[in-house]
Amino acid sequence: MDIAANSILYLDGVAVSFDGYKALRGLSLVIEPGEMRAIIGPNGAGKTTMMDIITGKTRPDEGEVLFEGSTDLTKLDEATIAEMGIGRKFQKPTVFESHTVRDNLVLSLKDNRSPFATLFHSSTEEQDARIDELLTTIKLTHRAYDLARNLSHGQKQWLEIGMLLAQEPKLLLVDEPVAGMTDAETMETAALLREINKTKSVVVVEHDMAFVRELGVKVTVLHEGAVLAEGPIDYVANDPKVIEVYLGR
């Protein structure tokens, strides 16, 4: 129980199946506060399902999912989990296309989320300053008043990361952040994530091995809904089991 108490995210024996297909079969994972973890695995390994369970979209059939050692995430809905401090970036960049870049951040900024509060909301100077700061971080200051739909793919990915930061989460779940990015963008994204990791815990799901190497963190390999191997990238990459299911192909 000590392991659970000292963790920010604790999954133990999580299993879920859809129409008989076992997407996760006894997945266990512990993320420590302030840690950045990369999760890799072939398609169908259960990476996205794992994210769905952590963020409350899917309920596990069995197993324990704890946030900060005590909060049972399997009982809460998406909005509550998001408010508690778990932010999620999707695989496909999903920003609010018909809002400006700035409004995307305004909507994400940590604030009262009730309909009444938003109806009579007006931005404080502090909030405006925070948004300017975020725009600088994600390098989109010059596009602040453009519609998000007019951004390039890479810029959308960055905007989504900015939206995550605006929520001021304690834990970020980032699903394939560099899919479709150029090499230069990929390296910049790695630098950004490392910067973010200075204050927040981060879980990155990624296929791109160069990117994972660039992050230089502990790697967990998933296979068929369970953990296959865990450790530094070089250790994992030389594990024969891993080579067989994933890297060797």
């Binding site: 963020t55 979209k57 809905d77 998406e78 909005a79 998001a82 408010e83 932010g87 999620r88 999707f90 999903t94 920003v95 609010f96 296309e97 018909s98 809002h99 409004d103 305004v106 909507l107 994400s108 989320r113 009730s114 309909p115 938003t118 109806l119 009579f120 909301h121 007006s122 010059h142 739909r149 007019n150 951004l151 390039s152 793919h153 810029q155 959308k156 939206m163 929520q167 479709g180």
Partner: protein, 388 residues
Amino acid sequence: MIISFLIKGLDRRTAICMLVLLLICAAVPLSNAYLPVGHPFRIPTDEMLQFGKYGSYALLAVSLDLVWGYCGILSLGHGAFFALGGYAMGMYLMRQIGARGVYANPILPDFMVFLNWKALPVTWYGFNWFGYAMVMVLLVPGLLAFVFGWFAFRSRVTGVYLSIITQAMTYALLLAFFRNDMGFGGNNGLTDFKDILGYNIQADSTRRGLFVATMLMLCLGLWVASGIVNSKLGKVLIAIRDAESRTRFIGYRVAEYKTVIFTISACMAGVAGALYVPQVLIINPSEFSPGNSIEAVIWVAVGGRGTLIGAIVGAVAVNWGKTWFTGQFPEFWLFALGALFVAGPLLLPKGIVGSISDMLAKKKSSQMYASLPATSEAVEDGASPTVE
């Protein structure tokens, strides 16, 4: 708080539209009252009534645009809220008839005497007071929408399934109101109204008053709707429309937002119905027919979804066209409506107002680019590939 909300609602487009509505609101009754009969600029009473009716339709369209255009909830049952508001007003008007009905019963409306009822049903209590009836105009549609929304949105019913349920809701109400046992006049509905607030409902002066009331309520409705869509709540609604699950993962309770906007919209539709009934002098179950709700969707689509003003333009344009068409080629109206529903979205996918504002925006930006030397930003904009 309320004031800053209302000021935010007064963006330039809304302000211009409200000004135009207020001008119409003053000009039409004045010309009807003071210009001699036969004067080319005089608007005859029946034409004024016609436009008053369009005004109430326009308010219904604005309420529908609020949920469909901004939150992506395609309600095919908004006519139900309109009709419920209309029935609340109709019940007040029925009680005003008093002993002047055919059976001269001071309490019971004629149809109840005809059905051999001895006492007024509880549902009719209080409707002799205008204030109570007006509260019901808001409360009944609002409550139905709240309960409906609570269950539907919490269970995450969306898209076409939700549309079908709203359609079923209005159809169920249609069947229910057809029954005499419901106590709302059955098949015949409520009619033979005499007075409203002590004024003869058929008098020209009363009709001018009703026209003014309709236009003012339309202005107010547009103002409130514009205030909502310009607030942060409005931005959340658009976010829900564009990427519902993203909004949820940011921490917004989508079901709450949908229920709130659906309820506000239903109240607005109820007011529209209450303004409609004293002008057409009848309310019967056919107002619940699914076709009416679908027609309202067409108005919004034709005018331009998600623009508010487009809803008003669409409602007036389609209904004016309907009046003209049914006068000229009575048997072809339904074909014309069908053609409109098919051709409208094909030719003007953003509706009348949406297409015009797109055109203006394009013109403006092309002028801007023409006058500017190629800045680094403009170059970058051109070079960066946009992925839809």
